[in-house]
Each structure stands twice: as structure tokens, then as C-alpha cells.
Symmetry: D2
Subunit: 335 residues, 4 copies
């Protein structure tokens, strides 16, 4: 059994993570923390949650665990990561703190000095399918953002081939749980229902530098991205429609062969058949990423869907844990 | 032209009211106020709102109007009503401040001493269809609550006949805009969507004393009510399903004759045919109240639907204004 | 391992059932049938479904199973039940065919002669918590309807005490999946979204005789029911708000003690604390029934919530299977 | 008064059109037809519709009108248009029959021979803001499709300047009413709610040739389009996010000046301020088109929103009627 702890359990990713861990046959949840709700059951915070008593983070017996999951706001998270690592506990961080490898870029996008820049080099960017070889030895895993997960898994095969020249256009559509549980006008039911809102268009969203950084790791022809997130009247789900111009030596058959070869054996990545497009319904409540491919007029249209709370957050975190501890990646995850 | 002002324009009822007034052929909107958004256009607060510049309430030229609408929180509203009346301006108050005639009952349910108890006697409880004879002379109109509007219009004919003996059971279902625009966990999109929540069951909701007070005005056999509001994943609409035990001398035909007689000439009250039940779709975006009647096993089941923001708030307020100023009640209102 | 088959897999209950069975550690799904989609994968019918190949019902190797689940329209179901029983296979029928014990009542409400009246006496009405003692020996289980499950579990303790005298008023609110997957105007997205519709009010819905039949088994004072179903703009979830007049010797504390005593050890029945009311969020995606209790003015208001597809259909069917085969009832079911 | 008739009143565009016409101060609705519901009131088809009695199309007194609106399926529409024109009645056709000027293109995309190719040359493609000079003399107006309206209004200023070289990428998101009222699995509530589906990606949707045809009229550099429609869980609203690569001599300020100049005096076209993006909330229940502009990395991102049933269908049809009969275009239309 892997002994685990969760720091910050009362957000939507915290809830989803605890649901997964409580039912995980090879994990034992030692504690779950909350500053504001310590002493209460998680079931008092979410009506259908498991009956797990929340404790104050100060009381968390960190040393009794082998790995802790951090579901904290950025900047807060890095400090706790340092404490855990100092205590000899491995860390899977669901915040953005260790996703960008450059402290200055972090400061530019997140508005604060990085609290632990010395750890940036070591952190593994945890797209499990891509970095699973590094995970058994990893002390610190930066769990990817939801938008980057959908986009990077979709683009990886082509970026590896240096097949993309031009600007990549990413038009993403996310359910509302991605915006967190803190009440804001933007997430008020009456404002969202029946509405659809683009936001942070172009090069304004914090997930943009994360995506461009990783794309540059994979392809010499580092492509700029245009990124347009849209808020959708749905509680969960995330779809990215991605437009890339391919060299003329690519046709849809060749693209499809590449994807089948790269992802054919992946349990969680479903490359859809010709004519099919990815939808929320392919992936919600699962750890899947579904990818559709359509090539026309030299432009490849990729549709890439994930459940933002599972493959886009807590499910991928558990998948990373599985790989870190040498067990089958699919254990405890909805397929 | 009736010169009008709106105090407190940035809530959902304020928006709906201003939309109605701006298109009203016999009203002239002199001003709309907002403390927090003074100087901005209402279109900056709501994307599709009319382009009306909001002013600070301190700057409102009250004396240039003949009537002001108050869309303020309870207790705040009464103070402004006093100022307006002192300035010789008539008042339609959309808050709860003048709905209960007894200052002690008000204090019990609203938790504060009534700011202007001397006006309670004079205030007209503005269910337009019921009090239209009093409106031309009225200085101060208390616009009814949304739940009470749906329930009292449905029960009026029977209460007038003293036909109800037993406890009245009211099971109401409301869209979310009734809970206001201030962000709260209860109105967070992810908490509401896919969910359905009863709240304040039994005798806990502030609209209960309002309904019982009015029912007692109409019927010697003052009936207690059980009131169960439910929050529905819809932006607007309100349906009350009401159960009353009738004396055995009533059958459905006799009930239907009574309702046709009482409401047959009402422009906004639609008594539905046998077998039909009221739905949100009958009334949303209109000033209608739709009433369905089904009698079985001695129990009359009434379904009564309104748009909570129109007939349940701003539409009825305009209807009251029309009656106060002697013009056709239907002018400027969606039928 | 229990060898199981599913007849009629392409509806919402079929999908949910197969998801549960595929992940059930002690069941082995031998086949799933579909007339219209034979030869295809269930994943072609529902994008996120398990990849189970559907076969024609004529080809189903009934004899290789110990139990079959029937997810068929009423009247069709009974015929297949006869075939299965003749082949020595136990049956859990999710249709209405064996819920009513009287063939004439069945004919009155379902409009056809009962295809196998000789089996009505034997069929066990499968509210698991109530009939678990009978299940190990049962050959044929009639899985209860969704509305009756929510209502009967809520009323059982009081009916057993003969505590209810007066007409029981049941105001139920159901998500849309209860209406099936066949496209109809009533389930068209644009008709449902933003709307709320009562239907079959009073004594018109087919679940009424089912509820009254069972209530009469439990209480000498057989109470008539008034039943008002409402269609809610949500995909799943079912809440019944139930009003019963109790004798004056009952107070809320005594009621609460009764429910705690009856249901205190039930894994799937959650009696909520004082002041809490059941919501869809308490139960969706679980096999739970959550029950809230509020007593006021001599009227007990019960709120009883289930997921209509799980505890209201496929989850309860699996719970019944578990009990029939002597394994822990909770195995394979979301708690 | 303009005497008008509506052929085919029982779809969502028919309903919306009749609502507008009934409240139009300078139009008189002489008849509304329906084959399937003749003899009934439109209020029996839609609960909140105006009480207009539907007549059989065979009985329609075409000659008593000056203009008829056709809300019929394609191919059916053209035949009725011929009859109306022969009777000396002007026609506004909301179907696709007269949108494409080439009969072969029509046959390719709609699968049938064009029923009246001789009229194609004469038909005015009714984007009102663009063709208003031609409307007073027009006998036959082809009301544009919903997607093309949002896309073409957004691109017109740039196409007129020949400013676009590269492939135009159009990522559109539509509410469900655009798919019509006939029940289909694609529009079943349970399939749509919580889901988001791209469909007909690339160059497969019938609105593509319509958009490309008109773009070629306006710009010598006829640009190919990639068109990706998505179905959104909302009843109404349409947003197109459009990506165009501009020559390097364009910056956002220059683009903004162009749009302000072209559209500054348009009542229904709202060019949004810097940093603003168009949403459904800007336009639903109005005849507006809201356009947002963001230029980054040489790519202009346009967001263009309309209510698909109003500016995308019936509102624009009424706007066309207004222009055809020489009255103010805004009369009778929600702004």
C-alpha cells in the first residue's frame, strides 16, 4: 500500500482526488487537510463526498506518508512542497508552481517571485504518457494544467516529427469547474447558463507559456501559439479544437498512422476513427483523452477532449502516482 | 408621459425593470441609480442591457419624477421610501419592507426593527389584479414577493369562497435569479447545474408570513401553510404546485367555473384547460401567471407558474404603475 | 464469479448496468444484446461506454449465465423472462412487468394483457433493503420503478408503524434520463432546458398503483396517494418531497429515532441530520438514497433523493444480484 | 400597414417570427400556416406563443398580402416562392433555397435539383446592412443562414479591403435551436446537456459554400475557409471565433478604426471595445451582432455573436422587410 496525504481537499480537484484515492486498491489515504474546514467531514463540504475527516494542515503527519498531493493555490504550494521534500516525502503538485522551468517566466505570469526556484530544474512535468520513464525516480512532479494536457497530448506526435511550421491555433472550450469553487460573478449560475464566453484571448492565459515551453522541448521548430479559451455552460469537460498547417507531404492517412503508432497501446488515449470528433461525452468521468483528426486544405483539425477534473487534474495525478510507485498506471482510474 | 426613476438598478430585477421602462411608450426614465457602479452604463454591468448611465443615488433628481421604483435590500428600502414620499413622489417598492402590515412580524422575520412603521398601514399590497381599485390613489405600493404572487393568485378565488379548510401545502420550484446576483456558493454554477435543492422547508421562508397574512385577509377560515421552496437548475421561472383539500361539494367543473368567472377577463392570468398543467414555458419572458387545475380524491392540485423576474417582480411593478396612473395595465408589458 | 447477461443494452439503464457489471469484481458479463445495434460495440452507441460487442438477442447463450438482467419495454420483458426461467436462469427484470401482483391492475395501467400472469405471485418486488431475506431463494426479481424506490424507502418505517392516516402527497422531481433515450418532443433539448413541467398529475402515472400496492402490504391503514411528477432540466437525479400527516403523538425526535433505528446500519440509505434536506447532489452517481425529515404543524415533510439510473434502476438491480448470490450487497456499487 | 403572411409557423424560427410580427407596429399578420397543425392555435404548439390560428397552406389568402415569409425545409421553399411571386407577392425566404447563386452548387450541397433556378439571379442575399440599397426594389430575398450571418458581418470590412490572404479559420459554437424542433438523438436533452460536440468539421457543412460565395463577391483574393461548427448545451445563441492572418501593415488600432468607420452608425452591430469579447449574453433575445477584435502575432481573432433565431433568422427577416417597405429598419426589433 502506498501511504498518501492530500493537502487542500475542499476544492473540486481535491474532492475528485479523494474520491479516487479512497477507492484505490493500492493507496491508503492517511490524511486530508483543510484550513477552513478542519474538524469537519469532507461530506459536510460536498454532499456526496466520502466521509473523510479533514484536519488542519499544521497537524498533518507528513512523515507517515510516502507521497503528498498538493491542491493549493499557486505560490502557497511551493512552500509546502519544500517542507514535504525536506521530510523525505515525494510530492505531486497540482498547482502551477513547478510547471514553468524558468523562475522569471513564472514571475512574469504569476506576479510573484518563485518561492523555491532551486527545485524547478528537478521537477518532472507530469504528462504521464510522455514522462513515465522518469517517474519511478521522481521526487517532485508538476501535474500539468488542464488546457495543456488536452493540447500537448494532441500535438506531441506531430511536434516530435517537427511537422508543424506555422502558428498553432488553439480554440479551447472548458466547463466551469475549471474556474474553481470560490464564488465569483463569472461562475454565478445565472451569468453562465445559456451563455458562452471567450476570455483571455490570444496570448493572455497563463497556460500559454506552459504549452509553448513544452512544445519547444519537443520540436526544434518552436511554434508560437494563439490560444482562445471559452467558458461553456457545463460543469465539467474540456475540448480543444486545434488548427495546424502541415507540410504538403502529410495526408490524413499518414497522420492517422503516426497517431496509431504513438498512442495505439495507451490505455487512456483514444485516437478516434476517421470522421469522428472528440466530445465531452467521450471522456467525462473517465481518465481518457480522446483525439479526433481531420485534414483538409492542408490544415489538420485536431479535437482533443478530457475531463478537466480527471485527466486534466486529479486522475492524471493518480496516474503519475501509479507510475512513480511502479504499479500499473490504470489502477484505480476510470477507463 | 410618466416620469420615473429607478433606485438600485444593478440586480436582476433592476435590469428587467429598466428594460421594460425604456421600451414603455408612456414612461420616461429620468434616472437609474447605483452606488457601486455610478458613472458607468448599465450596459457595462449587463452585456445586453440598454445604454443607460447610472448615477449615484445621492444625485438622483427625485423631484423630477412622479414615481420611483425601489430595487434595494430590505431595511435600506424603507428609508428611501420615506425620502421619496416626503418629496411628493409616489413609490413602488420591490423589497419586502412594506409587505407585512405588522412591524413586529417584520422584525421577527427580517431581524431588524422596521425603519418606518408609520407607513405600514398605508402601503397597498400590490397584487394588481386584486387591488387595482386602490392603486390610482396609492402613494406607496409594496410589490409582492415572487413566491407569494404565484401562490396567492392561484388561491384567491377559493379563499374568497372560504372553500379551504385544511393546511395548504405549497411545493414551489424557483429558478436561480430569485436568489440575486451577489455570488454565493448556493448560486455557483457547478453547485446548481445538475442539482435540485429543497431549502427552508416547512415554516422557515420569509415569504410564508407574507402569504399567510394575505390569505387571512381573504378568508375567515385562515389556513396555515406548509411551504417548501426548491432551487431549480434554470435561470428564471417559478412554479408552485399547491395542494388543498376542498369540501366535498366541490368538483373540478365547479372549481373551473369559479376560476373562469374570476379570471376570464384578465389579460395576464391564463387559466389552463382541463388536463393542462402550468410550466415555465407558459410564462417565461412574459407578465403572465398560468394556472392549472386538477381535482382528485378531494384534493385540488393547482399548478401556478410565473416568470419570477417579470410577473414575480418588475413586470408586476410596471403593471402597478400603469394602474396607479390610470393607463391600460397591459401597456409596455410582454403578454 | 457470477455469470451474467444483459438483454437490451442500448438504453440509459442498459448502459449504466453494463458499466457496473464490467467493473464488478465478482460478476462476469457473458453477453449484452441489442436488436438494432447487434454486431456493434456499445462504445459506438455511447461514446464513453465500455467496449462490449452487442449481440442479437436470438444468439444470446442464455444457458451460460446464472442470471440475466432484462432492460426491455414492458410486455416484451415478460416473454423473455419466461424463456430464461425455463432455461434455468434467474431473472432480474428492470421493466414494470412483474411489479404489480394483480394481472388486471397491470392490464388497466399498461393497456395489454399480462403475458405471464402465472409468474406474478412468485416475483419478488426487489427493494433490496426490504426483501433481502427473500432474495437468495428468488428466481425472479421485479426491480422497482424509480419513483417508487424513492417514495417507498422514505415511507417504509412509518407505514410499518401504521403511523399515517391521511392521503399521502408525493411531489416528485425527476431528471430527463428517466424518460428514456428514444427522441420525443418532450425530451428535446430546447423544450426541456430552462423549463420545468409537471405531468400526469394526481392519479395518472403508472408508478402510482405500484406505490399504493406496496404501501398496502406494509400498513393496515392503506393510504391513498396523490402523486405529482415533474420533469426537471437535469440529465439524472430524482427527488420526492412527501407530505404526510402524523398522529399527534409523533414529534420530530421520535420520527428521527425510528429512522435511525430502521436504517442506521444500511450502507446505502443516508438519513440526514436535523435541518438537512436531500438533494440530487447527495446521491447522483451513487447507489444511495438520502432521506431528510422535517416535522412542522403536524405534517412530516420527507425529502428522498436517488440517482434514477442507479438506485432507481441499475444499481439496485446489481444490489439485488449481490443479495441473490450471497455476496456483500455493496460490492461493485458506488457508495 | 404591411400585410404579411407566414408559411410554416411551427418551427423555432416560425415562432420567433410570429412573435416579432404580432408586435410589429407597422405589420399586419394576415395568416400563418401549418400543414400538420392547421386549425389549432400557435399557442397549442408553443405554450407561450401568441394566440394565432394556424391555417392549411392551401387555404392561405396569398393575394391579400404584400410579402410572405417562408419558413420551410429547403426544396419545398422554392416552389412556394414561385407561387407567391406569380401572385405578385414579395418573398422573404428563410430556407437555403435562394442563398447559393449557382444551381449546380446547390445540387451538390443539398442533394436535389434546384426547383427554380431561373430565380437565382434575381434573389437578393439579405444581409441587411450590406444590401439595404437593393431591398426597396427586391421581389425575392434569401435570408442568410445563421452561421454565415455571424461570419460575414464580422469579415466584411476586411474583405472589402482585400486584407485577408490566408485560409480563414472559423470556429463556431451554436445553441441547439439551430438544429430544428424535430426530435433527433442529436438534440435529445440527455445527449446534449453537459456535452459539447464538434460536427461537420472542415469543409462539410452546407453553410461553407454560402460563406465562401459571398466572401468572393467582396474580395478579389477569394480566401478558402475552414469551418468547424460545435453544438453547445444552450437553447439559443451563436458565436463564431474567427482567425485571419493580416498583412503586417495592419495593427489593432487600424483594424478598430476600420470597423468603427464601417459599423459606427449601425443600430444592430456593436463593435466592442478593446479587450472585450463577444458572448451570447451580448446578443441573445436581440437583433444585435456583437463583434470583438483582438490582434496578436499577426493573427486577428474576431469574436462575432448573434442570437441564431433573431439576427440569425427571423429578426434579420423582419429587418429585411422593414428595408423592403421603406420603413426604419429597427422598427419592431429588440435592440
Amino acid at each position: 500500500m502506498i501511504e498518501v496525504g492530500v493537502i487542500g481537499a475542499t476544492g473540486y480537484t481535491g474532492l475528485e482526488l479523494i474520491r479516487l484515492l479512497v477507492n484505490h486498491p493500492q493507496a491508503n489515504l492517511r490524511f486530508a487537510t483543510s484550513k477552513s474546514r478542519a474538524g469537519e467531514s469532507l461530506a459536510a463540504v460536498f454532499p456526496a463526498a466520502p466521509d473523510v475527516t479533514l484536519i488542519d494542515p499544521e497537524q498533518a503527519p507528513m512523515k507517515d506518508t510516502q507521497v503528498v498531493f498538493l491542491c493549493l493555490p499557486h505560490a502557497e504550494s511551493a512552500d509546502v512542497a519544500v517542507q514535504a521534500l525536506d521530510a523525505g516525502v515525494r510530492v505531486i503538485d497540482l498547482s502551477a508552481d513547478f510547471r514553468l522551468r524558468d523562475a522569471k517566466t513564472y514571475q512574469k505570469w504569476y506576479g510573484v517571485e518563485h518561492p523555491a526556484p532551486e527545485l524547478l530544474e528537478e521537477a518532472v512535468y507530469g504528462l504521464t504518457e510522455v514522462v513515465r520513464a522518469d517517474l519511478p525516480a521522481a521526487r517532485l512532479v508538476a501535474n500539468p494544467g488542464c488546457y495543456p494536457t488536452s493540447v500537448l497530448l494532441a500535438l506531441k506526435p506531430l511536434l516530435d516529427q517537427d511537422a508543424i511550421n506555422d502558428t498553432i491555433i488553439v480554440d479551447s472550450k472548458s466547463g466551469v469547474s475549471g474556474a474553481g469553487r470560490k464564488p465569483k460573478l463569472m461562475t454565478h449560475y445565472v451569468e453562465v447558463e445559456g451563455n458562452l464566453s471567450p476570455y483571455s484571448l490570444g496570448r493572455l492565459h497563463r497556460h500559454l507559456p506552459e504549452m509553448e515551453q513544452v512544445a519547444a522541448w519537443w520540436s526544434k521548430k518552436a511554434s508560437a501559439m494563439i490560444f482562445s479559451p471559452h467558458l461553456i455552460p457545463a460543469p465539467r469537460g474540456l475540448l480543444s479544437t486545434i488548427y495546424v498547417r502541415l507540410d504538403s507531404n502529410w495526408d490524413e492517412k499518414k497522420v492517422r498512422q503516426l497517431y496509431d503508432q504513438v498512442y495505439g497501446n495507451e490505455a487512456f488515449i483514444h485516437v478516434l476513427s476517421q470522421g469522428e470528433t472528440a466530445t465531452y461525452a467521450h471522456v467525462n468521468y473517465t481518465n481518457r483523452c480522446a483525439i479526433g483528426l481531420t485534414l483538409t486544405e492542408g490544415v489538420l483539425i485536431l479535437t482533443s477532449a478530457i475531463d478537466n477534473l480527471i485527466k486534466g487534474a486529479s486522475g492524471q495525478a493518480v496516474q503519475n502516482m501509479n507510475a512513480m510507485f511502479g504499479i500499473d498506471e490504470t489502477v484505480g482510474l476510470p477507463q
